[in-house]
Structures are given as C-alpha cells and as structure tokens.
C-alpha cells in the first residue's frame, strides 16, 4: 500500500504564515518601486482633470517655478453633499494646488474649457528629483 503524501501544500508557499510574509514582502517591493519610480525616474508629470467640471482660471505660466502648495488652477465643479441625509448639489469653485515643487513645462487647458475627470490634460509639471509628485 502506498504511503499517502502529506497534503499540506496549499499555495506556492509552505503555509499561510509564509504566504502572509511573502505578501508583505511583495507589497514592500511594489510600494518602494512606485515611490522610487515617481521620485527619481519620472521626469515630469501630466496633471489631468481631477474631476468633471469647467476650468475657470489658470494661475501659472509656462516655465514658471512653483512651490509645493502654490495655486495652479481653479475649476468650477458640481459638489454633491449629503446634508441631513438629503443630497444637495451646488456649483462651487475649487482651487487646486501644487503637490510638489517644480517647473511648469506646458499648459494645455485654458479658462472656459469643460474637462472630464482623468481624460483632459491640464498641465505638465517637472518636479524636483527626490520628492513625490
């Protein structure tokens, strides 16, 4: 009679504890890769519309140096908010600030443009090396 093999082989790893540790290692690699890539490898970032709306003002010029927190542009957006469990919609103007210091390479949007979230480009920013854009 053949001796049955031990059937504790569950994943590509020996046990769930190994799998948990491997997942932690994998996440560390993934996160560090993203951070290093964004901070050191990507030369510039394209800022796309963060939400649907209308561009009302562009506060920077091409080739301008900006610091983290500087106003970049303003958009008119439809803000949805629950007040006492009732959905209220109103048009508000929202300012968008630089998340990192750097130089404006180009500006694609102009005041009056209607933009779609993640579709339309607003501007291209060359960020400082070593900081997260």
């Amino acid at each position: 009679m053949s001796e049955p093999k031990k059937n504790t082989k569950m994943t590509v790893f020996k046990t769930d504890r190994h799998e948990d540790l491997a997942a932690m290692f994998f996440v560390t690699i993934a996160v560090v890769s993203v951070l290093v890539y964004m901070a050191y490898i990507v030369p510039s970032i394209t800022l796309k519309a963060p939400m649907d709306g209308k561009v009302v003002a562009i506060s920077v010029q091409p080739e301008a140096q900006v610091k983290k927190g500087d106003l970049l542009y303003s958009m008119e957006i439809k803000q949805k908010k629950y007040v006492h469990d009732t959905l209220e919609e109103k048009i508000v103007t929202k300012d968008f600030h630089a998340k990192t210091s750097g130089k404006i390479l180009s500006i694609s949007a102009k005041p009056g443009d209607v933009v779609k979230k993640d579709k339309n480009e607003i501007l291209v920013l060359e960020h400082e090396k070593g900081v997260l854009p």
Binding site: S2, N7, R17
Partner: protein, 161 residues
C-alpha cells in the same frame, strides 16, 4: 474478467462487487483513493492566516487516513483472500480513471452517490462515465440524502457503460 471496485464506506457496494466477481469467477481489485483536493476546495479562501489552513488540511488528512483504515478493515472482513487491495492519493475520479487505464479492467463497480472525501459534493459517477473505458456498475446508496443530486440514477444491477 477483471473487476475494479472503487471503495467508499458502502458495504452494499462491497458485497455486490464480491458477489458479482464470485459469480463471474473474475479477479477483483479494490481501490481506495485518499482525497487530496481539500487544498483546492478551500482555495478561494484568502482570509485565513497563520496556521489555520495548515491545521485544517492536516485535520482533513487525518480524517481521510482514519476513513482509509475503516473502509479497508470493513472490506478485508468481507472479501475473499485472493482480492487485491490498492491505495492511491489524489483527486478521486482521476485516480479511478488512471487505475482503469492501467489495469485493463472489464468492469468498474462503485456506489452512487459515491461517498469518498470531497466526492460528496461532486458528481463522481458523471465524471467517471465520461472517461471510463469499461462498463460501470453503479450500486444505489439509498440512505444518502444527496441521491437526487446526480443526473445518473442507475438502477441496481444494471451496468451502465
């Protein structure tokens, strides 16, 4: 004539196979398959941490081993001395079909529904009939609640091919 009996806890099936082999003066081989598919069956569960699944799989394996001891002891108590007993590990249907292919059998005898390991949640007879290279004799197990689950409701004593 060569007969293969796929073992599960059913004594009725064992007796039928032994009787049939005696009537036909056939050689009888009994096969017990230790189910190792618990790993796959719980494969979608990703929340378990640390030793939970390993403990459970060991527990399920111990249960399988205990079942093997029980079933084989029951069969040995009934079968004539010239019966051959074999054991295999893996997915039950695959191992039965492998044995059929290896041993050039003329008939497979098994219970319907087949209660071996995780086969209680599977249509064993359906899978076997799809791949079997010989006639299949399904012995109806009346006491089991899941008999209506399978599409194959073979009546006792009629080999299905």
């Amino acid at each position: 004539m060569k007969i293969l009996l796929a073992l599960d806890p059913s004594t009725r099936t064992m007796d039928e196979a032994i009787k049939f082999a005696a009537e036909k003066q056939a050689s009888l081989t009994a096969l017990f398959v230790l189910d190792t598919t618990w790993n796959d069956y719980t494969g979608h569960d990703w929340l378990s941490g640390s030793g939970s699944r390993a403990d459970f799989l060991e527990y399920a394996r111990d249960d399988e081993l205990a079942s093997e001891v029980d079933v084989l002891a029951t069969f040995r108590g009934r079968c004539p001395p010239d019966c051959e007993i074999r054991s295999a590990t893996g997915r039950v249907t695959d191992e039965i079909l492998n044995e059929l292919a290896r041993g050039d059998y003329d008939l497979l005898v098994m219970s319907q529904p087949f209660r071996r390991g995780l086969e209680i949640v599977r249509d064993t007879a359906g899978m076997i009939l799809k791949g079997a290279t010989c006639s299949v004799y399904l012995v109806r197990e009346d006491e089991v609640r899941c008999s209506s689950r399978s599409g194959i409701e073979s009546s006792l004593g009629v080999p299905a091919s």
